[in-house]
Amino acid sequence: MTIDTAADPVAEPRRRFPGVRSEGTGSRGSRVLGLVTLAGMAALLLFGLVLSPQDPGPNEMGQTVRIMYMHVPVAIIAFLAFGVTAVGSIMYLWKRSEFWDLTAAASAEIGVFLTAATLATGMIWGKFAWGTWWVWDARLTTTALLLVLFLGYLAVRRLPGPPEQRSKRAAIAGLIAFVDVPIVHYSVDWWRSLHQPATVSRFDPQIDGLLLFSLMLGMVVFLLAYWWLMIHRFRVALMESRLEERGLDVALAARRAEAEATAPVAATPAGVRP
């Protein structure tokens, strides 16, 4: 027996999920944004590594100052990403809309990645500036705790359960983690100030000219990169959620088709067959 694919109940839901484009997560807008971001990255490399001078300031950071054009923007965007997660969590609890839930999820994932990048670049810089990979500096310690806090949030997101329950649980877990951030900050700050009179100023605040421009360019470029990642991560999350909704339907249809195919044989008692 041949199966008519047009009427196949299994094949039908595969065709198109509402709200999700079958050709991928890209759209014209996101492609333009992606190209602009790439061009910005190229410009940042040019300004950061070639055009901007080495640090003339009293800190004698020399060439190592160049890592600042990545480190500082990435750190600030990471904090922004966690802020977006907190806003998304609050808005989800208020509006109960999938949009805010997925926004919070996508932003937290990107935030965790950016925080890890912040720590990595900070440690590389510290190795050259301070001669050690790690010091128990207030900002480093706070950032490390922030990373673990939001890794926990991502773990909560992956817990099993009905979608509504998972979203609510994640929103509350996100807020529990987020309200901890200022407490962590103050405790670590006070803790470190007990042992050393003042934290070493990471970067000379009186930077100007090409250095400042490169830093600002870095901010803009990494903001664009965050935005681009958000668009795609959000759309992937939306597709996953649609697929999951359809997943049960597909499985049911498959079982039903299976049952229909085997039913006449099973229903006929052996030996009575004509």
Binding site: L93, L145, V148, L149, L151, G152, A155, V156, L159, P160, G161, E164, Q165, K168, R169, I172, A173, L175, I176, A177, V179, D180, I183, V184, Y186, S187, V188, W190, W191, L194
Partner: protein, 221 residues
């Protein structure tokens, strides 16, 4: 709300008095951790200077067990549904659960306090600051722990998940309580009361959070 809290706390403590899980399992575990620290550090002077930190790390480990226990008794036999159907105020349930954990942890801290005094030879000073710090720090840990406890309860990986969720959140409690104990031991209580303030803020924030958010967590998880 307070009446419901007392009911739930009473129930949990009665359950504890009959099953004796804290006294028979958690307390020996905590003492064992004290011994492990002594083996690991292997130096009497280091042990004495590190006593406040080791004390609070041990309390946090024991708190993980106590919190897990407090919520695993609810996930068995569908008692969680019974709790929801009982008509008790969810905020009261939260306060009751956290309150019972506080009572158990305070008893444990008393035991551990004797333990570090006897085993490590630590001298404890500034009794008012010590007791006040222990009280607010324990309330903070129990409040944050109850929120994550109910969230992770009944899940197969709950036992693995709880430490990852709770320990980073209570890291400020470890720092602040340790510093307050050090300040008390060094006889500079002024410094210690600042840490006490931070602990109080932590406890207040998570109690408030729990009072408002516990209903959603209890309903859904």
């Amino acid at each position: 709300m307070l009446h419901d809290a007392l009911l739930v706390a009473g129930k949990d403590l009665r359950l504890e008095a009959r099953s004796r899980v804290t006294t028979n399992l958690v307390a020996p575990f905590a003492v064992m951790v004290l011994l492990l620290f002594a083996f690991a550090l292997d130096d009497a002077d280091v042990l004495v200077s590190a006593t406040p930190g080791l004390f609070w790390v041990t309390v946090l480990f024991a708190a993980l067990l106590a919190i897990q226990r407090a919520f695993s008794v609810e996930s068995a036999d569908g008692t969680r549904d019974a709790l929801r159907l009982s008509g008790l105020d969810p905020a009261g349930v939260f306060l009751g659960k956290a309150g019972a954990i506080v009572v158990q942890l305070l008893a444990l801290e008393l035991l551990l306090g004797c333990g570090v005094a006897l085993l490590y030879g630590a001298t404890l000073g500034g009794p008012v600051l010590l007791v006040a710090t222990a009280l607010v720090a324990t309330v903070g840990v129990a409040a944050a722990g109850s929120l994550y406890g109910v969230l992770a309860a009944g899940l197969r990986i709950g036992a693995t998940l709880l430490p990852l969720l709770l320990l980073p959140v209570v890291a400020p409690v470890l720092i602040a309580a340790t510093q307050a104990f050090i300040a008390a031991a060094q006889g500079v209580p002024g410094e210690g009361w600042r840490w006490f303030g931070l602990l109080a803020v932590f406890a207040l924030i998570y109690i408030t959070f729990g009072i408002f958010a516990f209903e959603s967590l209890l309903e859904e998880s």
